[in-house]
Amino acid sequence: MNVHPAEDAYHKWSRDIFDVLSDAKVRQVPYVPDGGHARLIELVDAHSAMRAIPLTTEEEGVALAAGAWLGGERAAVLLQSSGVGNCINMLSLIKICKFPLLMLVTMRGEWGEFNAWQVPMGSATADALGLMGVHVVRATAAEEVRQVVSNAALMAFQGGSAVSVLLSQRLIGAKAFLN
Protein backbone atom coordinates (compact mmCIF):
# COMPACT_ATOMS: atom_id res chain seq x y z
CA MET A 1 0.00 0.00 0.00
CA ASN A 2 1.31 3.44 -0.90
CA VAL A 3 1.52 5.78 2.02
CA HIS A 4 1.19 9.49 1.41
CA PRO A 5 4.16 11.41 2.86
CA ALA A 6 1.89 13.38 5.22
CA GLU A 7 0.36 10.15 6.43
CA ASP A 8 3.81 8.70 6.89
CA ALA A 9 4.79 11.66 9.10
CA TYR A 10 1.52 11.35 11.02
CA HIS A 11 2.21 7.69 11.73
CA LYS A 12 5.74 8.57 12.80
CA TRP A 13 4.85 11.20 15.38
CA SER A 14 1.90 9.16 16.63
CA ARG A 15 4.36 6.31 17.18
CA ASP A 16 6.73 8.74 18.92
CA ILE A 17 4.00 9.70 21.40
CA PHE A 18 3.11 6.07 21.93
CA ASP A 19 6.76 5.20 22.62
CA VAL A 20 7.06 8.02 25.15
CA LEU A 21 3.89 6.90 26.95
CA SER A 22 5.02 3.30 26.89
CA ASP A 23 8.52 4.15 28.18
CA ALA A 24 6.93 6.29 30.92
CA LYS A 25 4.89 3.24 31.99
CA VAL A 26 1.56 4.93 31.31
CA ARG A 27 -1.13 2.29 31.85
CA GLN A 28 -4.43 4.12 31.49
CA VAL A 29 -5.19 6.24 28.43
CA PRO A 30 -8.64 7.81 28.77
CA TYR A 31 -9.80 9.67 25.67
CA VAL A 32 -12.54 11.40 23.80
CA PRO A 33 -11.55 10.60 20.24
CA ASP A 34 -10.11 13.04 17.76
CA GLY A 35 -8.86 12.48 14.24
CA GLY A 36 -5.42 13.65 15.30
CA HIS A 37 -5.28 11.01 18.05
CA ALA A 38 -6.71 8.18 15.94
CA ARG A 39 -3.41 6.43 15.20
CA LEU A 40 -2.20 6.77 18.80
CA ILE A 41 -5.46 5.27 20.07
CA GLU A 42 -4.99 2.31 17.71
CA LEU A 43 -1.48 1.75 19.05
CA VAL A 44 -2.66 1.94 22.66
CA ASP A 45 -5.56 -0.41 21.93
CA ALA A 46 -3.16 -2.95 20.45
CA HIS A 47 -0.79 -2.87 23.44
CA SER A 48 -1.43 -5.41 26.18
CA ALA A 49 -0.04 -3.33 29.06
CA MET A 50 -1.98 -0.16 28.20
CA ARG A 51 -5.70 0.38 28.35
CA ALA A 52 -7.47 2.80 26.02
CA ILE A 53 -10.54 4.07 27.87
CA PRO A 54 -13.27 5.84 25.90
CA LEU A 55 -14.96 8.61 27.88
CA THR A 56 -18.36 10.22 27.49
CA THR A 57 -16.89 13.62 28.36
CA GLU A 58 -13.35 14.80 28.95
CA GLU A 59 -13.65 15.69 32.62
CA GLU A 60 -14.16 12.02 33.37
CA GLY A 61 -10.60 11.54 32.15
CA VAL A 62 -9.25 14.14 34.58
CA ALA A 63 -10.88 12.43 37.57
CA LEU A 64 -9.94 9.00 36.24
CA ALA A 65 -6.28 10.02 35.95
CA ALA A 66 -6.38 11.18 39.58
CA GLY A 67 -7.85 7.84 40.64
CA ALA A 68 -5.22 5.95 38.69
CA TRP A 69 -2.47 7.91 40.42
CA LEU A 70 -4.02 7.22 43.84
CA GLY A 71 -3.74 3.53 42.97
CA GLY A 72 -0.17 3.75 41.70
CA GLU A 73 -0.76 3.85 37.95
CA ARG A 74 0.02 6.56 35.43
CA ALA A 75 -2.50 7.93 32.97
CA ALA A 76 -2.42 10.25 29.97
CA VAL A 77 -5.63 11.97 28.86
CA LEU A 78 -6.18 12.38 25.11
CA LEU A 79 -8.60 15.08 24.03
CA GLN A 80 -9.33 17.76 21.48
CA SER A 81 -9.07 21.47 22.26
CA SER A 82 -12.87 21.73 22.50
CA GLY A 83 -12.76 19.16 25.31
CA VAL A 84 -10.47 21.33 27.43
CA GLY A 85 -13.49 23.51 28.11
CA ASN A 86 -15.31 20.51 29.53
CA CYS A 87 -12.51 19.88 32.03
CA ILE A 88 -12.31 23.23 33.75
CA ASN A 89 -13.93 22.61 37.14
CA MET A 90 -12.55 19.05 37.36
CA LEU A 91 -9.07 20.55 37.17
CA SER A 92 -9.78 21.85 40.70
CA LEU A 93 -9.21 18.28 41.84
CA ILE A 94 -5.77 18.26 40.23
CA LYS A 95 -4.80 21.64 41.61
CA ILE A 96 -6.04 21.24 45.17
CA CYS A 97 -4.61 17.73 45.59
CA LYS A 98 -1.45 18.40 43.54
CA PHE A 99 -2.05 15.41 41.29
CA PRO A 100 0.31 14.90 38.39
CA LEU A 101 -1.53 15.18 35.08
CA LEU A 102 -0.53 14.67 31.47
CA MET A 103 -3.00 15.87 28.85
CA LEU A 104 -2.35 15.57 25.13
CA VAL A 105 -4.55 18.07 23.32
CA THR A 106 -5.03 18.05 19.56
CA MET A 107 -5.75 21.59 18.45
CA ARG A 108 -8.63 22.75 16.33
CA GLY A 109 -9.67 26.23 15.39
CA GLU A 110 -6.23 27.73 14.86
CA TRP A 111 -4.79 26.83 11.43
CA GLY A 112 -6.78 26.48 8.22
CA GLU A 113 -9.86 25.62 10.23
CA PHE A 114 -12.91 25.20 8.01
CA ASN A 115 -15.35 24.98 10.94
CA ALA A 116 -15.69 28.32 12.70
CA TRP A 117 -17.44 26.60 15.62
CA GLN A 118 -14.04 25.24 16.65
CA VAL A 119 -12.41 28.66 16.84
CA PRO A 120 -13.77 30.05 20.14
CA MET A 121 -12.52 27.17 22.27
CA GLY A 122 -9.40 26.62 20.17
CA SER A 123 -8.44 30.27 20.70
CA ALA A 124 -8.98 29.99 24.46
CA THR A 125 -7.47 26.54 25.08
CA ALA A 126 -4.01 27.58 26.29
CA ASP A 127 -5.35 30.43 28.42
CA ALA A 128 -8.06 28.23 29.95
CA LEU A 129 -5.52 25.60 30.94
CA GLY A 130 -3.22 28.27 32.31
CA LEU A 131 -6.01 29.80 34.39
CA MET A 132 -6.57 26.42 36.05
CA GLY A 133 -2.88 25.95 36.83
CA VAL A 134 -2.00 23.50 34.07
CA HIS A 135 1.41 24.10 32.47
CA VAL A 136 1.15 24.39 28.69
CA VAL A 137 3.73 23.31 26.12
CA ARG A 138 3.24 22.99 22.40
CA ALA A 139 4.52 20.86 19.53
CA THR A 140 4.18 22.15 15.98
CA ALA A 141 6.89 20.36 13.98
CA ALA A 142 6.72 16.58 13.60
CA GLU A 143 10.38 16.29 14.58
CA GLU A 144 9.83 17.92 17.97
CA VAL A 145 6.83 15.86 19.10
CA ARG A 146 8.84 13.16 20.83
CA GLN A 147 10.97 15.63 22.77
CA VAL A 148 8.05 17.83 23.79
CA VAL A 149 5.88 14.93 24.98
CA SER A 150 8.83 13.26 26.68
CA ASN A 151 9.65 16.37 28.69
CA ALA A 152 6.00 16.91 29.54
CA ALA A 153 5.80 13.33 30.82
CA LEU A 154 8.91 13.93 32.90
CA MET A 155 7.40 17.07 34.46
CA ALA A 156 4.17 15.23 35.21
CA PHE A 157 5.36 11.89 36.52
CA GLN A 158 8.71 12.83 38.03
CA GLY A 159 7.91 16.40 38.96
CA GLY A 160 4.28 15.94 39.95
CA SER A 161 3.06 18.81 37.78
CA ALA A 162 -0.09 19.17 35.73
CA VAL A 163 1.06 19.51 32.13
CA SER A 164 -0.71 19.73 28.81
CA VAL A 165 0.84 19.31 25.40
CA LEU A 166 -0.93 21.19 22.63
CA LEU A 167 -0.44 19.38 19.34
CA SER A 168 -0.78 22.19 16.79
CA GLN A 169 -3.37 21.95 14.06
CA ARG A 170 -0.51 22.87 11.76
CA LEU A 171 1.18 19.61 12.79
CA ILE A 172 -1.94 17.49 12.38
CA GLY A 173 -2.70 19.22 9.12
CA ALA A 174 -4.85 17.94 6.33
CA LYS A 175 -4.52 14.29 7.29
CA ALA A 176 -7.11 14.35 9.99
CA PHE A 177 -9.57 16.73 8.43
CA LEU A 178 -9.57 16.45 4.68
CA ASN A 179 -9.89 12.73 4.29
Binding site: I53, L55, L70, G72, L93, C97
Partner: protein, 190 residues
Protein backbone atom coordinates in the same frame (compact mmCIF):
# COMPACT_ATOMS: atom_id res chain seq x y z
CA UNK B 1 -37.37 4.81 55.08
CA UNK B 2 -33.64 4.15 55.33
CA UNK B 3 -31.46 6.70 57.13
CA UNK B 4 -28.30 7.53 55.17
CA UNK B 5 -25.96 7.35 58.15
CA UNK B 6 -27.22 3.90 59.12
CA UNK B 7 -26.80 2.72 55.54
CA UNK B 8 -23.21 3.89 55.23
CA UNK B 9 -22.35 2.55 58.67
CA UNK B 10 -23.76 -0.86 57.71
CA UNK B 11 -21.89 -0.90 54.39
CA UNK B 12 -18.52 0.10 55.86
CA UNK B 13 -18.76 -1.81 59.14
CA UNK B 14 -16.60 -4.66 57.88
CA UNK B 15 -14.65 -2.82 55.20
CA UNK B 16 -11.33 -4.67 55.43
CA UNK B 17 -9.01 -3.57 52.62
CA UNK B 18 -11.72 -1.58 50.86
CA UNK B 19 -10.92 1.82 49.33
CA UNK B 20 -13.70 4.41 49.55
CA UNK B 21 -14.17 7.50 47.38
CA UNK B 22 -16.87 9.98 48.40
CA UNK B 23 -18.88 12.43 46.33
CA UNK B 24 -18.99 16.00 47.60
CA UNK B 25 -21.57 17.08 50.16
CA UNK B 26 -23.57 14.75 52.35
CA UNK B 27 -21.91 11.54 51.14
CA UNK B 28 -18.54 12.88 52.29
CA UNK B 29 -20.02 13.67 55.73
CA UNK B 30 -21.75 10.27 55.92
CA UNK B 31 -18.51 8.39 55.34
CA UNK B 32 -16.68 10.67 57.79
CA UNK B 33 -19.35 9.95 60.40
CA UNK B 34 -18.45 6.25 60.30
CA UNK B 35 -14.86 7.19 61.12
CA UNK B 36 -11.82 8.44 59.27
CA UNK B 37 -9.64 5.93 57.42
CA UNK B 38 -6.47 6.35 55.35
CA UNK B 39 -8.14 4.46 52.50
CA UNK B 40 -10.88 7.09 52.33
CA UNK B 41 -10.58 9.76 49.65
CA UNK B 42 -13.05 12.56 50.24
CA UNK B 43 -14.14 14.89 47.47
CA UNK B 44 -15.06 18.39 48.65
CA UNK B 45 -15.55 19.64 45.13
CA UNK B 46 -14.99 18.27 41.62
CA UNK B 47 -18.69 17.52 41.34
CA UNK B 48 -19.31 14.60 39.00
CA UNK B 49 -15.87 13.13 39.59
CA UNK B 50 -16.47 10.47 42.24
CA UNK B 51 -17.40 7.57 39.95
CA UNK B 52 -14.71 8.18 37.33
CA UNK B 53 -12.04 8.69 40.00
CA UNK B 54 -13.12 5.39 41.56
CA UNK B 55 -12.95 3.77 38.11
CA UNK B 56 -9.32 4.82 37.58
CA UNK B 57 -8.47 3.61 41.06
CA UNK B 58 -10.26 0.28 40.60
CA UNK B 59 -8.34 -0.44 37.39
CA UNK B 60 -5.04 0.50 39.08
CA UNK B 61 -5.75 -1.68 42.13
CA UNK B 62 -7.59 -4.77 40.84
CA UNK B 63 -6.95 -6.68 44.09
CA UNK B 64 -8.70 -4.02 46.18
CA UNK B 65 -12.46 -3.57 46.48
CA UNK B 66 -13.17 0.05 45.47
CA UNK B 67 -16.43 1.73 46.44
CA UNK B 68 -17.67 5.16 45.44
CA UNK B 69 -20.30 6.53 47.80
CA UNK B 70 -22.11 9.54 46.44
CA UNK B 71 -25.43 11.32 46.23
CA UNK B 72 -28.03 11.45 43.49
CA UNK B 73 -27.12 15.02 42.49
CA UNK B 74 -23.42 14.23 42.14
CA UNK B 75 -24.18 11.10 40.14
CA UNK B 76 -26.59 12.95 37.86
CA UNK B 77 -23.75 15.27 36.85
CA UNK B 78 -21.76 12.20 35.75
CA UNK B 79 -24.55 10.14 34.30
CA UNK B 80 -22.41 9.19 31.30
CA UNK B 81 -19.86 7.65 33.65
CA UNK B 82 -22.20 4.68 33.99
CA UNK B 83 -21.44 4.01 30.31
CA UNK B 84 -17.70 4.51 30.79
CA UNK B 85 -17.73 2.05 33.70
CA UNK B 86 -19.83 -0.48 31.79
CA UNK B 87 -17.30 -0.54 28.97
CA UNK B 88 -14.29 -1.15 31.24
CA UNK B 89 -16.26 -3.37 33.64
CA UNK B 90 -13.77 -3.56 36.52
CA UNK B 91 -15.00 -6.46 38.70
CA UNK B 92 -13.79 -4.77 41.92
CA UNK B 93 -15.79 -1.54 41.57
CA UNK B 94 -19.07 -0.65 43.26
CA UNK B 95 -21.02 2.59 43.10
CA UNK B 96 -23.41 3.35 45.96
CA UNK B 97 -25.78 6.25 45.30
CA UNK B 98 -27.54 7.60 48.38
CA UNK B 99 -30.67 8.88 46.67
CA UNK B 100 -32.72 11.31 48.74
CA UNK B 101 -34.12 13.08 45.69
CA UNK B 102 -32.65 16.39 46.85
CA UNK B 103 -29.72 18.73 46.44
CA UNK B 104 -29.25 18.80 50.20
CA UNK B 105 -26.23 21.12 50.31
CA UNK B 106 -27.85 23.98 48.47
CA UNK B 107 -31.30 24.36 49.97
CA UNK B 108 -32.90 20.97 49.33
CA UNK B 109 -34.09 21.67 45.81
CA UNK B 110 -35.68 18.61 44.23
CA UNK B 111 -33.37 16.51 42.07
CA UNK B 112 -34.35 14.69 38.90
CA UNK B 113 -34.68 11.33 40.62
CA UNK B 114 -38.30 12.03 41.47
CA UNK B 115 -38.82 11.26 37.78
CA UNK B 116 -35.59 9.69 36.52
CA UNK B 117 -34.63 6.19 37.64
CA UNK B 118 -30.87 6.07 38.32
CA UNK B 119 -30.83 2.29 38.59
CA UNK B 120 -32.67 2.01 35.30
CA UNK B 121 -30.18 4.36 33.66
CA UNK B 122 -27.26 2.36 35.05
CA UNK B 123 -28.82 -0.86 33.80
CA UNK B 124 -29.46 0.57 30.35
CA UNK B 125 -25.83 1.77 30.33
CA UNK B 126 -24.77 -1.87 30.37
CA UNK B 127 -23.85 -2.44 34.00
CA UNK B 128 -25.03 -5.93 34.90
CA UNK B 129 -25.27 -5.79 38.69
CA UNK B 130 -27.86 -3.17 39.61
CA UNK B 131 -30.14 -2.91 42.60
CA UNK B 132 -32.49 -0.34 44.05
CA UNK B 133 -32.39 -0.70 47.82
CA UNK B 134 -35.26 0.35 50.04
CA UNK B 135 -34.99 -1.83 53.16
CA UNK B 136 -32.27 -2.53 55.71
CA UNK B 137 -32.64 -6.28 55.29
CA UNK B 138 -30.48 -6.13 52.16
CA UNK B 139 -27.63 -4.12 53.64
CA UNK B 140 -25.57 -6.96 55.11
CA UNK B 141 -25.57 -8.79 51.80
CA UNK B 142 -24.57 -5.63 49.94
CA UNK B 143 -21.78 -4.96 52.45
CA UNK B 144 -20.44 -8.44 51.69
CA UNK B 145 -20.73 -7.96 47.93
CA UNK B 146 -18.91 -4.62 47.80
CA UNK B 147 -16.06 -6.17 49.80
CA UNK B 148 -15.32 -8.55 46.93
CA UNK B 149 -12.90 -7.97 44.07
CA UNK B 150 -15.06 -10.04 41.72
CA UNK B 151 -18.59 -9.84 40.42
CA UNK B 152 -18.65 -6.13 39.66
CA UNK B 153 -19.09 -3.52 38.55
CA UNK B 154 -22.14 -2.98 40.71
CA UNK B 155 -24.45 -0.03 41.19
CA UNK B 156 -26.68 0.24 44.25
CA UNK B 157 -29.20 3.05 44.36
CA UNK B 158 -30.22 3.32 48.00
CA UNK B 159 -33.37 5.29 48.64
CA UNK B 160 -32.80 7.31 51.81
CA UNK B 161 -34.74 9.73 53.97
CA UNK B 162 -34.63 13.45 53.18
CA UNK B 163 -34.00 14.34 56.79
CA UNK B 164 -30.76 16.35 57.04
CA UNK B 165 -27.97 15.08 59.30
CA UNK B 166 -25.36 17.05 61.21
CA UNK B 167 -22.25 17.74 59.17
CA UNK B 168 -19.20 15.68 60.03
CA UNK B 169 -16.25 17.34 58.38
CA UNK B 170 -13.30 15.14 57.39
CA UNK B 171 -9.85 16.01 56.06
CA UNK B 172 -9.99 18.87 53.56
CA UNK B 173 -6.29 19.19 52.72
CA UNK B 174 -6.29 17.51 49.32
CA UNK B 175 -2.57 17.01 48.84
CA UNK B 176 -2.31 15.42 52.25
CA UNK B 177 -5.32 13.19 51.58
CA UNK B 178 -3.68 12.04 48.35
CA UNK B 179 -0.33 11.28 50.01
CA UNK B 180 -1.99 9.52 52.92
CA UNK B 181 -4.08 7.38 50.60
CA UNK B 182 -1.09 6.34 48.48
CA UNK B 183 0.96 5.49 51.56
CA UNK B 184 -1.88 3.27 52.76
CA UNK B 185 -1.26 1.24 49.58
CA UNK B 186 2.48 1.06 50.15
CA UNK B 187 3.15 3.69 47.47
CA UNK B 188 5.36 6.75 47.81
CA UNK B 189 3.58 9.93 48.91
CA UNK B 190 4.30 11.61 45.58
Amino acid sequence: MLERRNVVSALLGTRGEMAVVTGLGSATYDVAAVGDHPRNFYLWGAMGGAASLALGLAMAQPETPVVAITGDGEMLMAIGTFCTIALQAPPNLSIVVLDNGLYGETGSQKSHTGVSDLAGIAKASGIAMIETVTTSSELDEIAASISLTAGGPRVYVVKVSQEPKPRVLPLREGAHAKARFREAFGLTAD
